[in-house]
Symmetry: C2
Subunit: 407 residues, 2 copies
């Protein structure tokens, strides 16, 4: 008897997590003879536990599936549910009963670190009970912090958004070019600086903004920062600085925590100021120049305005590759990206052991960070530039991007 496919999404949204969903569903429907049904789980494994699933085929027939491809965020909804470490927990037999109930033979989970942990646990449990359900992870994260893969879908579009936004902020900052000013741009990434590093791509010529870039990979010293800013202002009166939200003192304390020690709001709450706001106040205090901080915020991960065609294509292809890998008998694997050697950018997909991937973090190599932790080198540019290439035309209606949504 033919088995059914189920696909889910987990963790934070990205601009192309739905392209991976599209890739899985499209490929599964194209290989219809190999499968019974193609289901989506609503709100990930947590929703699945509550029986919240949907048939995906009607979406192809209605044309909605095409629209899903360019819709940011998680069409199926997400969750942050972590499966228990103990494989003897009763949730596991409960889940596998549900797999039986729906005739599931192929399980695809699109997500980051935590989602790969789910794939790892489910595949290990399956092995322990001799279940034949196959589990495949499809990578997704704007943080680009998964190991055993060249990069992850979602990163390219987020990097393109960051780079173009920082370039626009540079334009905005340069309007009054006779007065010294500092603009601090705070970019997502608590532990890995991949996305902040993408700020360097905004530079049009040597010495152009952003002149200073700080990642969480190196220890951040506030005195050193002030010296860097002071020196940079001599050459660049309208200075733009990129910082990761996760910049830290190298001993485990985030720079933003320095602020929240003291700031108190109207209600007597600690003010949870970001790192950018903290440094804004520091520059004002120490240098007395005009300064502002800008938090790029959630649009880094949910904007469709700066989709990278390369990223979108790879997101969909990795979903499709996962379906092929599962059919070929793989389980407990994540689809990983292998960059071909040589100057011309090219990519091969592979299936890597998910247990080696989950719960690990890949950070920016220290040798790619230059000028004593205040800039990014050419190696990073060579690495990241191919990932932001190509524009995507998002369908629009009445002057605005048209997105798919579950009704």
């Amino acid at each position: 008897m033919k088995k059914s496919v189920i696909v889910g999404q987990s963790g934070g949204p990205t601009a192309v997590i739905n392209a991976s969903l599209y890739g899985v569903v499209k490929e599964a429907l194209e290989r219809e003879s190999s499968f019974d049904k193609v289901y989506g789980m609503i709100n990930g494994i947590e929703g699945f536990l509550n029986g919240r699933i949907m048939d995906m085929k009607p979406l192809e027939q209605s044309g909605e599936l095409e629209l899903i491809r360019t819709t940011p965020g998680s069409y199926l909804g997400s969750c942050r549910y972590k499966l228990p470490e103990d494989l003897k927990d009763p949730v596991y037999p409960k889940l596998f009963e549900k797999f039986d109930e729906y005739g599931i033979g192929f399980f695809f989970y699109i997500g980051g670190n935590d989602s790969m942990d789910t794939v790892s646990k489910l595949s290990r449990y399956a092995e322990s009970i001799g279940s034949e359900v196959r589990f495949i992870g499809i990578p997704k994260t704007i943080d680009n912090d998964l190991v055993h893969t060249d990069h992850t879908p979602g990163y390219g579009s987020a990097a393109k958004y960051v780079a173009s936004t920082v370039r626009e902020i540079g334009v905005d900052a340069s309007v009054y070019d006779n007065k010294k000013s500092v603009t601090i741009v705070e970019i997502m990434g608590r532990h890995a600086g991949w996305l902040t590093a993408a700020g360097v791509l905004a530079r049009k010529y040597e010495g152009d903004n952003p002149v200073l870039i700080y990642l969480p990979e190196t220890a951040f010293d506030t005195d050193r920062f002030i010296q860097d800013v002071e020196k940079a202002l001599e050459k660049t009166p309208n200075l733009v600085v990129c910082i990761s939200e996760g910049i830290n003192d190298g001993k485990g304390a985030f720079i933003c925590e320095l602020a929240s020690d003291v700031g108190v709001d109207t209600f007597g709450h600690k003010m949870l100021t970001g790192s950018g706001k903290y440094l804004e106040n520091l520059v004002k205090e120490r240098l007395g120049v005009k300064v502002r901080s800008i938090e790029l915020n959630v649009n880094q991960r949910c904007s469709s305005s700066m989709l990278s065609a390369v990223d979108l294509t790879e997101a969909a292809e990795s979903g499709a590759y996962g379906v092929g890998a599962a059919l070929a008998g793989e389980t407990g694997k994540m689809v990983s990206f292998r960059r071909r050697p040589g100057k011309e950018y090219g990519l091969d997909y592979a299936a890597e052991d998910v247990t080696l991937i989950c719960n690990k973090e890949k950070t920016v190599p220290l040798e790619w960070i230059t000028r004593d932790g205040a800039d990014i080198g050419q190696e990073f540019i060579d690495y990241a530039l191919p990932l932001i290439q190509g524009e995507v035309e998002v369908p629009s209606e009445n002057g605005l991007p048209l997105f798919a949504y579950r009704r």
Copy 2:
């Protein structure tokens, strides 16, 4: 002897202020036989006083002028210099000596309220001394707050950016759809709510986010706000609320000022929290639900990622119209937009007395604000929707938007 043209930009940047610059320069160069040179002033009237001007013709020959059309921000640089009220001030004869020195006969100033004040003063001074220099204002402001014009260039693209970004934030907010959460989006506009009102365009169906929208035109009551949020959460667990940065109590106090009374940072400074952050803390305090605030920040005015084709075209056309008006003998005028009656959107340009325009503010009509100040009505939608239509392809290079910049 033929006279020369000079054009300048003033005030904050917009996405299309350079399209107006393009319009003026292109039209002046096309009517070359009527003029001697076409100059740009660097950093507005302030730079001009210091003799900082440039010849614009080489930009057309090099192709740079085409690139300027889709570059956000002020290519020529801006200033916030306000001319003295007293027309007997020595700066006036100094300026007119400079006009003579460069053979200027036609002066175009692209800007908002304050820039129109400059045009008014210069044209009145010219009249008082019998000078034949003609002064024309080209409107520009994302705030859309100029009187005697249907709307202003810059607003359409900013509104499109706000609407699409709010729609994307709605997508981001709906990912975990089983828990109550509030996302507060703070949008630019201290005194006029035009840009915040554009949040309503993000709605895809009745009851969709943003469910609540607050403008500075009506008095904001924090208790009432909490009631609104509590009620809205019953129907919409992932609530998105749009607020103007300028929401106020109707008696002259901004809501953000309520916060800065008490918040103190690490350095003992008052925390200049925005209205969004204040309301975030208020919701947390009173309702105990998950809440975040997002400041859309400078990208509202400097992003080229959501250019409205209608806005870009009108910005360029108003520049060109200004040149024609000056040649026809007009001075002391601003190019104004007159919407044609009827369902089909159409626009005529006219020259309006700039003295009636400067130093006034047009706010959103109170009858367009509904649900006791918590929503926006259909009249606004009918007004704003034509202004955000059409997409613009911005030239790109290496995966990023390519902008013109002065070398």
